[in-house]
Amino acid sequence: MKRDALLIFCCLWYALGWAQSRSINGVVKDEHGSPLTAVTVTLKGTSIAVQTDEDGMFTINVDGSETLEFSLMGFDKQTISVQNRAELEVVLRETQSALDEVVIIGYQQVTRRKTTAAISSISGKELANLPAASFDQLLQGRLAGVNVQNFTGEPGATPTVQVRGNTSLNREYDEFSVGNAPLYVVDGVPQPPQQYTSPMTGTGTNFIAGINPQDIESIDVLKDASAAAIYGSRAANGVIMITTKKGRSTEPQVMISAYTGVTQRPALRDVALGAEERRQKMQILEDLQPLRGDIDYRNLSLVLTDSLNPAFNGNTDWQDLYYRTGRVNSADLTLSGGGTGGMNYRFSAGLYDEDGIVKATGFKRYSMRLNLTSMALKQRLMINPIVAYSRTDRARAGGDGIGTDARYTPASYFNLSDTRREYLLGMYDEDLDVNTGNQLTFNLNLGYEFTNALRFTSQTSYIYSNSRRDVSIPNAVANFTGNQQNVFSDNQVNILSSNYFTYTKSFSDHNLSAILGSDLEYNQYRSMNAGATNGASDQIKVIQGFQQRYLTAGSDYQAYSMASFYSRLAYDYDSRYLLSASIRGDGSSRFGKNNKWGYFPSVSLAWLISEESFMKDGESMFSMLKLRASLGTSGGLPGNNYLQYNLYRVNAGNYWGNNGATSYNGITAITPNLVDGVAQPDISWERSVQWNLGVDAELAAGRFSFAFDVFNKENKLSLFDVVLPVTTGYDRALTNSIGVRNYGAEMILMANPLPRRSPVQWFSRLNVSYVKNQIMNLPNSGRDLVVTGSRFDKTHILSVGSPINTFYLYETLGIFSTVNDIPINPLTGQRFNAGGGAYQPGDMYLRDVDGDFVIDPFNDGINPDKLPIGDPNPKWTGGWTNNFTWRNFSLGILFTFLFDRDVLNLYQSDLYENGAGTNETTGSFSQYAIPDLSKVNIWRKPGDQAAIPAYPLGSFRYYSVAGQTYFLDRGDYLRVKSVSLTYNLPNAMVSRMGMNNVRVYGVVDNLAMFQRTSRLPDAEAVNYWGEYDGDGYPIPAKFTFGVEFQF
């Protein structure tokens, strides 16, 4: 189109050239002095125009008018008066306005000016060269409405990514849950979700970690339903659209970039070591002995009393065994260019290699991507194949974290025997837990232009991925029962065929755009696992030479298919009043006949006030002012492919003491799945209805801009287990039974506060999201549900009206300083007690909610002394980006923050949990490490006003009830997430080297952390449930230095 126009203009220029002989030569450059290609130079007031060549040079004949206009996409327009000059040097500045940027809205793209939906976008440039294993980690703080929490520092793990809040409810606690993941769409292809493997079965590697952040051109997040509804049944949790880089039709370009750096070993926890630890333990025993009858000196462990025994007089810091300083390396090569006839290409290859700060953990990615575009049939047919391959390699050291949690870190005075060392460190060898993943993506996009208005696009995609995990457990780690070997392997095929027509036409002031299409998608997953135990040699790292009866094997097959059709109609009048409506229908194999199809409509409106004549009169400060409103429905699919079938359980012979039994009397036992296997032909789609009101504004040609959105999202008919009558034989069944509401607001402020001409430029962007959720209804008549499956003390509750996973806790009122502080039941004369055991001075004072002078120790279900207190969902999240440029230097600083979240500090509760046994055989107090008591104010004698209660020595007291408000911390934090300094070598120097651009840069990731509580080592390293137990993987600081060449 443009090319045609250009041709005509050029002809015109030649034709006119004969008439007038005065010609002007010039060169157009950017601010760094690099020549700009394809700048349109127009003689003002005429249609005469030329374009600059590859060196930025142009020649134009002036005819009467002496004013030239220079324009190029992405740069501010400039008008220059020639005034008898024959040579011109023009510098164009990059624009600050985002109005002409395009955003991807699913099957189509529109300019930001014309969007009617709530969409957050970010350019790939912002993500380049930052040391992170996967791009989703980098989205943190950079996109309004997207909350990313990197709760673990383990390379290759999946962070929690939530678009507009948490909507997932679970009856059971799952340590690895990351909540509701959004749908990722890469180059128009929805990626299959990571639904078949949990961190305990497969490799556990983040399924989108195969995408090299360097290949990303832009990321657009469809937040509201009007945008996301086009992805129908999978869009309820938001859609993240990723566009990868394409070639540009220029000279061949080569870019090489590489960086290297270190990841910092975390600070170790405070522990008293060696003789000091023993002294502290003996002191606390001595202090408490008169008060605690259970402490019997005669039974004290030899470990504590025999300080001369060489086995027990060590000085071992156990944490030290597991950590190291890590490395991070990355290298990328990109070739891009084009040829005649609209052909262009881009090829990239990348390597990312991060060694974790825990021994034998790390993540490597080898990636390759080829994007070709070619035009045929007289430029009407576009052929665009994309081929990408990635391999990930992840060492996980057994995947169980480190062996030093709060409770079970061994005491320092143990000298480490070789056997013990082998046991503890046996898994910390990279060969023992090998996780590899391969992903091959092949897309073929075909576009045919029937007319300027009508276009047909056909997209075929084939994604093949496989992963494999090999775990070898050495004899010593397996308690000397022989080495063990486990293999897991899976592969997944995802085929998508997407065909749609687009129609775009303007009739005077009426602009119309429409889309109509259909998708077919098929996904097949197969896995295989095998395990062997009681092996004969640690050297054997495959399943060979194991006895038949120690072998187990299994395989699985899962498949689903989906058919969809969709349509969107967008209309605007005079680019002032905008209307867009879309509908998608999805049919899924996961549903029974009665409910196969679900329909997801949406509508949105926008009013561009700034285009109204009353705003255009005079000098308006607004280059754009837009009001938006939208309403729509999107959906969710159940994770289970075969809910409509009553699947049977084969090999159902298990019973008490024999979980592996498969048969009865040698006959394979088969029963229905009597847990949750009810056939459900009537189950229907989860639905999310969302409205959104927003305003977008841009001031002073893009120097300032802001966007503000409020939304309300209600997930209805979400799938959840209902408990069935016992007499049906089944325990529970999934039904469309819960509702969750998320509501909130988002704000983005962007500014370039310094004047345009200032030598220092400062770009600043602040985004803040607020989201709050509330459970609207629960199954079984809305009764409260205590979340099961966590530790002994159940700490979460689901309750209508409360946020998801609200903590369920005892309220701590203080510490009993003396016996007189402990209440007495006036009716019985009994002292306040917990399940029969009377409280003593130094114990926690828990609030007796039901007033019966007994703290009910009942931990499994509704407890009359517990209350729903504290919300583990983050409410305020966001980030503040700052970029400063001065000459060839640029400095970027990103802050991320989270406010208003409660964290249950299980680490704190576990620290003092090993006091129960003081005697020889069960002496956990003597066996395990304690905190450095010289640094804490712990209760030792009646009258102490202590911050920490008495050490619960000699008995199982209710001290360490994890579910109490004493352990509830504020999770607020502000993190200096990323600081980068870049220097572009001067152009002259670079040209002498025969290159286009050379830059050097340094990045510091996680430079500093400011957090409300000092009891948490890292307020971000808190899991989805808002719990921290000290067993996780610290988030390290990374320091990298890199260089990038372009030639």
């Binding site: 045919y448 079938y645 049977y648 024999n658 009865y664 009397n665 229905p672 009558p725 007499t727 034989g729």
Partner: protein, 536 residues
């Protein structure tokens, strides 16, 4: 023109895709079988009935952490006469005190969920098996209708057996005999009166008896698959239970049920083909599949169905299992041994006579431990120690024999056996007033097992004295077989032996278990067991 063709072609392509959608959108599971296809298989009945047995086995063996074995927790533990607890950490000892109120106890042993899974399976078999087409069965079964009868007969039996367990433990229980097409909207059921449940069991037994045969066509089924004999044994127990507990206010048994039990056992003995093994092989009875086994649940390592959670293992120490400690969790109460395995001795001794205010050298009779009884010899060790060991179930198999690791017990769960039936005849005789018949039966046991002649009963004993001896004989014969507590209730000998089960408590049904309070939260029709109302 060309352009229009392309549009038409594309549109028709899209249309074609849509029409094939319905097929495209069907994905059948390949990772398991499912209801619609499972029964279309000649072998389905075999697998389903195996599943039913497995569910019953799971229900009877389940329990609270570390102990489990609820069959024995209901049947032996409450009497507090037989099992001593050295350590379990979770208060199972409270069961022996008749105190079922702790959270741990009431949430595990008070929960009947697993029994209803077994009942559901029986219901499914009874619904589906009649509908399997004959042509399908003919593919593999020589006699399709006999096969069908055999599967259904077992399903009736298993349903009856499971309900019998339920009603012995809880009294009134919900009664479900149908399969719900839509379990999600199935009704919550109230507890049905005991009498109704017992009637259902009787009816199911009669149906099962009509469908099943005596004996075994296949020796691999011996004892572990129910036959007509199993049904009769269950019926006999049912009649005696109903005779003695239908009206807890009365201690007079219902004679009609007693007679039914009598004739049932008589038929069983005449037609069942069971026989007691030679006493030298007495121990093998508890491994399983002996000639005296009437119904057992297979828990044999021969088919890798042994368990490391068997009640027998709770009594074993490192003399029997290499990885165990010196102190077993449970032990045999020494008082049980001395009171049950007694012999009467006479000897000369000085005796103080108050009336004449002097010592007299005279002959006295005392009781001593009768170590000659085969059952004593076979079942108990370390009987002089504080904590005697029960080795009745001690057929230990190591799955890792090289390192002696992964010990499993390969002892079937013995539910009904011939000696049980023979002894019940003595109880029946006593109810019928035929004391000498009862004495003969008890003496025949003592003679058979080589007990001291001094323990033989003389013919001049009263009915009550014989009943006392009957209970001792049951205690000797059926130690740790899940019967003894019910024997004590039936005969009302609990008043003598179980301190907590007073007459008042028995009249209130206070031996029934409370229901897990968690079951009430879903079911508003449910009521707590009468005795426990206000106590949980």
């Amino acid at each position: 023109m060309f352009r229009n063709n392309i549009i038409l072609f594309s549109l028709s392509l899209v249309a074609a895709l849509f029409t094939s959608c319905e097929k495209f959108l069907e994905e059948e599971p390949k990772n398991s079988t499912y209801n619609e296809v499972f029964w279309d298989d000649a072998r389905a009945g075999n697998n389903a009935i195996a599943g039913n047995y497995a569910l019953l086995r799971n229900a009877l063996m389940d329990g609270f952490s570390g102990v489990g074995n609820r069959y024995y927790m209901y049947g032996d533990m409450p009497a507090n006469l037989y099992i001593g607890v050295y350590s379990d950490g979770y208060g199972h000892v409270e069961i022996g005190n008749g105190n079922y109120t702790s959270n741990y106890m009431v949430q595990s042993y008070g929960n009947w969920t697993l029994f209803y899974k077994s009942i559901t399976m029986s219901n499914i078999i009874l619904k589906e098996m009649p509908e399997v087409p004959r042509e399908v069965l003919e593919l593999e079964q020589d006699n399709p209708e006999a096969f069908r009868r055999k599967i259904m007969g077992q399903a009736y039996f298993l349903r009856a057996f499971t309900y019998f367990m339920l009603t012995k433990v809880w009294g009134d229980v919900p009664l479900v005999t149908e399969v719900y097409d839509d379990p999600i909207n199935a009704p919550q059921l109230p507890r049905a009166p005991r009498a109704v449940v017992l009637k259902q069991i009787e009816d199911d037994c009669h149906k099962a008896a009509a469908l099943l045969d005596w004996g075994y066509t296949n020796s691999s089924e011996r004892s572990v698959m129910a036959n007509k004999g199993s049904v009769y044994a269950l019926l006999a127990h049912l009649y005696l239970w109903r005779a003695t507990t239908a009206d807890l206010g009365s201690d007079q048994p219902i004679m009609q049920d007693v007679h039914s039990a009598d004739t049932t056992i008589a038929a069983l003995l005449a037609l069942g083909g069971y026989s007691r093994p030679d006493t030298t092989n007495y121990g093998d009875v508890f491994i399983g599949r002996s000639t005296e086994g009437i119904f057992e649940l297979n828990m044999s390592e021969n088919t890798l169905e042994g368990t490391n959670g068997h009640i027998g293992m709770k009594f074993l120490n490192n003399n029997h299992i290499a990885t165990y400690g010196a102190n077993a969790a449970f032990f045999v109460k020494p008082a049980y041994l001395t009171s049950h395995f007694y012999k009467v001795e006479t000897k000369w001794d000085w005796v103080w006579h108050e009336d004449i205010w002097q010592w007299v050298w005279e002959e006295v009779t005392t009781t001593a431990l009768d170590t000659a009884d085969v059952r004593f010899n076979n079942n108990f060790e370390d009987y002089t120690s504080e904590r005697p060991v029960c080795v009745k179930y001690s057929n230990v198999v190591y799955r890792n024999p090289g390192q002696q690791l992964e010990a499993h017990l390969s002892n079937n769960m013995i539910l009904f056996r011939l000696s049980d039936m023979l002894l019940l005849q003595a109880e029946i005789a006593l109810y019928q007033g035929d004391i000498s018949r009862a004495i003969n039966i008890i003496n025949s046991f003592r003679e058979h097992y080589g007990a001291s002649e001094s323990s033989l009963l003389s013919s001049d004993l009263s009915k009550d004295q014989v009943m006392n001896e009957y209970i001792l004989e049951r205690g000797k014969e059926l130690y740790l077989e899940g019967h003894l507590f019910y024997d004590l209730i039936r005969t009302r000998k609990c008043f003598d032996h179980v301190p907590w089960l007073t007459e008042a408590r028995l009249r209130q049904g206070g031996f029934f278990w409370p229901v897990d309070p968690r079951l009430f939260s879903e079911n508003r029709h449910l009521v707590q067991t009468e005795y426990w109302r206000g106590k949980i």
